[in-house]
């Protein structure tokens, strides 16, 4: 039986991947992962069985939401997107496009999409992480996909700020 610690340790690479895609910033992402791990180790006694992995995704998702809220309260926002010029051709171009498209999503939609396509969670697990019914997960996923498609198709709607 894997101990709690072993389960946490085994999940670190996936948490880093999720955090990187969520924040699109390697430093912020790793800070977020570290906060998640510290939080998890400190509240191990609150963990009463179940999937350690889902629990860690939940902590990270919530910490990132708190981070964005406190950012939003500050007057100075670093622009999520400051360049609408077409991407240069090259191997990185596609990656930058998807990165910018992700940046245009509202946070709950980005969480849902990334947990499903990048982390491979089931819809039910995502519902647990987000604390909402599966139907809400489905509609977030659908809106995220519409938004990304619209962005990539070049219609580039007005960017939405995360609340």
């Amino acid at each position: 039986m894997a101990t709690f610690r072993q389960s946490v340790e085994a999940t670190i690479p996936a948490l880093r991947r999720y955090a990187r895609a969520l924040t699109r910033d390697a430093d912020i992402a790793d800070d977020l992962v570290q906060d998640t791990l510290v939080r998890a180790l400190r509240s191990e006694h609150l963990f009463h069985g179940g999937e350690v992995r889902s629990w860690l995704y939940t902590i990270l998702t919530n910490l990132n939401r708190n981070r964005l809220r406190s950012l939003a309260r500050r007057p100075m926002l670093s622009p999520i997107e400051d360049n609408d010029a077409p991407d240069l051709a090259g191997p990185e171009a596609g990656g930058r496009d998807i990165e910018r498209a992700l940046a245009t999503l509202v946070e709950d939609q980005r969480n849902a999409l990334l947990l499903v396509v990048l982390e491979g969670l089931s819809y039910r697990e995502v519902a647990e992480v987000q604390g909402v019914p599966i139907g809400t997960v489905m509609s977030r996923l659908a809106r995220a996909r519409v938004q990304i498609k619209t962005y990539l198709d070049g219609e580039r709607p007005a960017l939405r700020r995360v609340k």
Binding site: M1, T3, F4, R5, V8, E9, I12, P13, A14, R16, R17, R20, A21, D30, V33, Q34, L37, V38, L41, R42, S43, E44, H45, L46, H48, G49, G50, G94, G95, D97, I98, E99, A101, L102, L113, L114, V116, V117, L118, S122, Y123, M138, L141, A142, R145, I148, K149, L152
Partner: protein, 273 residues
């Protein structure tokens, strides 16, 4: 299943892309898509998005994990911070919530069994057995008038050295005089883990509390409460040692005693041997 007229919902299209569609619908959706090029293009676009996201970020999980995420180190570094060690208040609150939500020990076990599989269930019931051992020892010895202990409380230093050696880890015998309890003494007992140390304390009106501790297999556990037969116990495990504090079935009083013991046994630097 090849019902060609079966309507395909948008949710099913998402599930199809995400590999979460039940097998018996996959073929039907594929057939339907072959006849609906517009929807098929949408599905292809969603797939490309997912592929793009995985291509962009997938490799992060293959990077070596930086040293800053070493769990032992994270624990050490946060050791100086206040409220790092799990606090008794949080443990007690969690225990109260668990008891409230799940109806006590049995509910907890049932939940453990369903949530984490048979291995966890075995661990939980093993821990439950530990609590039973502790309560049996408590009931057996607290009624003893002449020989409740092997080593009297006055020989604390000797008892600490002896039981540390027999149990294989450093014993910390709490001083509970601040809450009106005097150390009667201790004894060595057999247990499922091999050996257990048993310490007895007595209050002004003759009420007795005992600590039963032994090495534990699993990781640390939540605080649990068990009562019955006029006696009750709080028990938990930490750093591979399991503890049970037993006494009269008065939850508030027992919790106060347990907290005093926890604070002395568990907090680093609080070595009152």
């Amino acid at each position: 299943m090849t019902d060609r007229d079966s309507p395909v919902s948008e949710e099913e299209l998402h599930a199809y892309v995400d590999g979460q569609l039940p097998a018996d619908r996959r073929e039907a959706v594929a057939t339907w898509l072959a006849e609906n090029p517009e929807q098929a293009a949408l599905v292809a676009a969603w797939r490309a998005q997912a592929e793009g996201i995985r291509t962009r970020y997938g490799a992060v999980a293959d990077e070596p994990v930086p040293e800053r995420f070493n769990l032992d180190r994270l624990m050490r570094e946060s050791a100086g911070a206040p409220a790092n060690r799990r606090s008794w208040a949080a443990m007690a609150a969690a225990a109260a919530v668990a008891a409230f939500m799940l109806g006590g020990g049995v509910g907890w076990m049932a939940r453990g069994a369903s949530a984490a599989g048979p291995a966890a269930a075995a661990a939980v019931s093993g821990f439950d057995a530990f609590a039973n051992e502790a309560l049996e020892a408590h009931k057996l010895y607290v009624v003893e008038v002449r020989h409740p202990v092997e080593v009297p409380g006055e020989e604390r230093a000797h008892m600490t050295a002896w039981l540390s050696k027999r149990l294989g880890y450093q014993q910390r015998i709490p001083d509970l005089s601040s809450i009106g309890l005097k150390l009667v003494g201790g004894r060595l007992l057999p247990s499922a883990a091999g050996a257990a140390a048993f310490y007895m304390y007595e209050g002004a009106s003759g009420e007795r509390f005992t600590i039963y501790c032994s090495k534990a297999e699993g990781p640390e556990t939540a605080l649990r409460f068990k009562s019955g037969d006029k006696v009750a116990a709080f028990y938990w495990a930490d750093d591979k040692v399991a503890y049970a504090v037993s006494g009269p079935d008065d939850r508030a009083r027992l919790e106060k005693v347990s907290k005093a013991i926890y604070d002395q046994i568990e907090l680093p630097g609080a070595k009152k041997l």
